[in-house]
């Protein structure tokens, strides 16, 4: 070792190492300059770009859904409001593995395939950092289960949101309609920006028709969030504007009264104020609970509602089309007088059937033995068919059709709701167009008693009855009395619109018809005489029995033998008080048999309730406490 030490040249070694140290110092400087250059590029040259990125990292636009407008009945009873309900929501951006998260969540709550499907649909229209509801309306138990375990899940939240609620449940559902979760179909129609954050949309009825009024305007919040998307503070806010409140023309007491009268029967009642077209009750039975639809109905519940016999989802008042039967007789009677094809006292002999010239076929009267010598008053009071066959034959289908259209038959009334159907007022032109066939004289006869192709909706029938009570002046039926703008505190009244006026040639003609209708109830032989008991005001009415199926020639119609489904529909129209009509009603009880026995009592009860509120006081107050 010693000799090697001597070989070491300390001076040159020192110089060598020092040179290398200096070189190192230079390299250090060069490399750090590169880093500083990089910093310069990032912080000066590209500063704006990174500033923007930094802001878009932390600032987010959050949609604030507006509160949906409330719906009240004409007396201020709440028909639709919003209640807070707990929802399970997911922010997709924060979920690493959605399937895995859903799998784990289902250990704590039941999540159906249907709900997952709906969730995936809904998440398509939300941005990744927006929360998408998975489960609505968590029960207390589910809430407790989830809340305790929520920390295990990233991007899963429980939020209280306002959810549509219908306090009356199944009452008035066909007048109101309902809201449901926004689906693919709705997406094509709605304004995406305004519905950012909204989960519900009107699906049917008023809720759909007045969607734009009820929904309101979306608000926005600029919020600062952290990396896990949690909102830290609100930077600024543009609050949402609540939807407008609707005040309906519906009287919920009258509505419930009518619905309760139906018990297990199916059918429909429409009651309106003829003087302005305000619909007081719009009943379609059986009914259903719209609350089931708000958060998406379960398959099981939906199955029961799809009952093909009772069809609770079917809105009979607007969509149901029925043969009007004898309820058309006052109208055709008036047509006969107005066109002078009959005189008031002119009689027709009824022998139980009517024969067209040169035809074998017998057109039967409901009364096999016939009514004998029959004038107009008797024809209406006792509902003689033969009289009206003869009248129809004299009038001809063209005049009948033209006259009836002036009372709104065969055309939509234009009510402010969805899915109204037009009914059918047959005519030559219609037959050619729809069936490609000429009009047969026999069809004129059966149209004359409201059968054959003639179809009306309960709403149309009520509207026509109202028009008749006002000597031909027909107001457009409507469900909304006023629209309240809560922010501006404006109550916008809906102005009644006259949708048609029949110019009466002679007021006396009308008087004859109304007398006949009055006798239907008040006359000793009137078909609805049984409801006259204890009446303190005057009702003008007309019963009707609509055949559901045709009776073969010479066949006997035995009510008992015919299964219920094929039994006749029972109808009744009425307005009251006769001197100063305030309410017009049309009642249809499906397969109810005779109008006089089933339909008329419903009408009487409603007229009493509406015209004599004092007598019903006890009743109404009880119902209100039930709410």
């Amino acid at each position: 070792m010693a000799y090697r030490e001597q070989l070491k040249d300390n001076y040159s070694e020192t110089r060598l190492i020092q040179r290398r140290l200096i070189l190192s110092a230079v390299i250090v400087l060069v490399l750090m300059s590169i880093v500083l250059g990089r910093l310069y590029v990032l912080q000066v040259v590209e500063h704006d770009y990174f500033s923007t990125l930094s802001n878009s990292n932390r600032v987010r636009l959050k949609a604030l859904p507006p509160t949906r407008g409330l719906i009240y009945d004409r007396n201020g009873v709440v028909l639709a409001d919003n209640l807070p309900a707990y929802r399970l929501e997911i922010i997709r951006e924060q979920v690493d593995d959605l399937d895995d998260t859903l799998q784990h969540l289902s250990e704590y709550v039941d999540i159906s395939k249907q709900e997952i499907k709906k969730f995936r649909q809904a998440s398509h229209r939300r941005r990744p950092f927006e929360s998408v509801p998975l489960l609505f309306n968590l029960s207390d138990e589910e809430l407790a289960h989830l809340a305790v375990n929520l920390h295990k899940f990233q991007g899963v939240e429980i939020n209280a949101r306002l959810t549509r609620n219908y306090p009356l449940g199944k009452h008035a559902v066909h007048a109101l309609g309902y809201v449901g979760r926004i689906d693919v179909k709705d997406l094509n129609q709605l304004d995406e920006a305004n519905y950012a954050g909204t989960s519900y949309i009107g699906k049917l009825g008023l809720e759909k028709f007045y969607e734009n009024d009820l929904h309101g305007t979306v608000g926005f919040q600029r919020v600062e969030v952290n990396a896990s998307g949690r909102t830290l503070r609100v930077l600024d806010e543009n609050p949402p504007i609540s939807g407008h409140n609707l005040h309906l023309t519906i009287d919920s007491n009258l509505q419930r009264l009518a619905e309760d009268m139906f018990k297990n029967e199916s059918g429909s009642v429409v009651a309106l104020d003829p003087n302005n077209g305000e619909v007081l009750a719009l009943v379609s039975m059986p009914s259903f609970d719209p609350n089931l639809f708000v958060n998406g109905i379960s398959t099981k519940d939906y199955k029961t509602l799809r009952d093909p016999k009772r069809r609770p989802l079917f809105n009979r008042a607007l969509t149901g089309q029925y043969p009007p039967g004898s309820t058309t007789k006052p109208f055709f009677g008036l047509a006969g007088l107005e066109y002078s094809v009959i005189g008031n006292k002119q009689t027709t002999f009824c022998g139980g059937y009517y024969l067209l010239p040169n035809e074998e076929r017998r057109y039967r009267d409901w009364k096999k033995t016939g009514h004998g010598k029959t004038d107009l008053d008797k024809a209406i009071t006792q509902s003689c068919d033969v009289y009206f066959y003869s009248l129809a034959y004299s009038l001809g289908i063209d005049r009948m059709s033209e006259f009836m259209k002036q009372f709104g038959f065969g055309r939509r009334t234009g009510i402010d709701s969805t899915s109204e159907r037009p009914g059918l007022m047959p005519s030559r032109e219609w037959k050619r167009r729809a069936r490609g066939m000429p009009w047969f004289p026999g069809e004129t006869l059966i149209t004359g008693i409201g059968q054959g192709a003639f179809l009306v909706t309960p709403l149309q029938l009520a509207s026509a009855t109202g028009a008749l009570s006002l000597k031909g002046k027909r107001y457009k039926p409507h469900l909304v009395k006023s629209i309240e703008y809560p922010v501006e505190s404006i109550d916008l009244k809906v102005i009644p619109v006259i949708s048609g006026t029949y110019p009466l040639k002679k007021e006396l003609n009308w008087q004859h018809i109304v007398n006949g209708m009055q006798n239907v109830v008040h006359g000793i032989r009137g078909t609805a005489h049984r409801i006259a008991e204890g009446l303190s005001y005057k009702i003008a009415g007309k019963t009707g029995t609509a055949q559901v199926f045709g009776i073969a020639q010479d066949a006997e119609y035995e009510e008992e033998e015919v299964i219920k489904k094929l039994r006749d529909h029972a109808l009744f129209i009425a307005f009251a008080p006769v001197e100063n009509p305030k309410i017009a009603v049309a009642v249809i009880v499906e397969n109810g048999g005779h109008g006089s026995s089933v339909a008329a009592p419903i009408a009487r009860k409603m007229l009493d309730a509406y015209l004599l509120p004092d007598q019903n006081n006890g009743d109404t107050s009880k119902q209100e406490t039930d709410l």
Partner: protein, 373 residues
Amino acid sequence: MNRAMDGDQVSISRRVLDAFRLDPTLMMLLFILSAFGLLILFSASGSNMDLLFRQLTRLGIASVLMIIVANVSLRLLKKLSLGFYLAGVLMLIAVIAFGEVGKGAQRWLDLGFLRFQPSEFMKLAMPMMVASYLSSKVLPVGWKDLLVSAGLVLVPVLLIAKQPDLGTSILVASAGFFVLFLAGVRWKIFMILGILVSLMAPLLWKFALHDYQRGRILTMLNPENDPLGSGYHIIQSKIAIGSGGVYGKGWLNGTQSQLDFLPERSTDFIFSVFGEEFGLFGAILLVFLYLLIIYRGLYIAAVSEDTYGRLLAGALSLTFFVYLFVNTGMVTGLLPVVGVPLPLVSYGGTSMVTLMVGFGMIMAIGSAKRFLR
């Protein structure tokens, strides 16, 4: 330095420092840097006082160790070199055999009373060993010594890389390499080595690197390819630094860091927090402070009168620089993400102890000249 010997004019603090054989310039610089570090750590941790105190405690322990090491004589240090090195290698083998797995890598050795990271220890033992070996040889280094030294470097580096810990193996390798470099390996050899490495690069890429390491390099080249996966760190770090601008967003006001967008912000990515909150000015100041520390170390090396001291002090100072360069290069997207902390600033104990002990050695080398003769 010699002025320190002159009696009366010398201040009391200087005398105290001298008594503990501490280098006043380096002490002051380290003190300022630590203060900076605590300041930014407070912000990066979300004003977490607990964390700050833990870091302060470590800093205290590390400083005590530094003072102790500063008082060890150069001769003893040199004598310990071989023993330390052998112990280090044995411990690295032990880690692979019985080590604890943390974050997918075996790095820790649990000795019952303390958990110990032998690779960290190797950062010091390596330059000591190579310096001690080469200081007894004739410089510049000949082929035979070069091969022996290369072997001394490669064995522990490969053991560490196997753990796997790319960051530490780079640091350990550079510590050994710097000794060789300072000891005057000829340029010709560097060129041959360079050519060899570039020839072997594809093979290394294929066989020596783990998948995640390859991924990190690819990510560095194009972080936007995988913005939510491995590119996320780099993208968020660049956003933090870039959005800081010239003057920064202000202390505790960095949105990227305070709102959790920046991952690993109190450890490996703490420089990004600094860049965001103090801007380009702050970053330049910090880099300048680091450079002063490095140059002070290199100066102590240069003026040392002992070859071993020169080589060791130079290598330790340059290793400190590698920390700085790799970390700042990584957070600015110049280099791939390898787990190298920002020295003395990043939260974490082991590297701080190693670094401070290293500075203790540098001080011991610096004071050797003053006191040993």
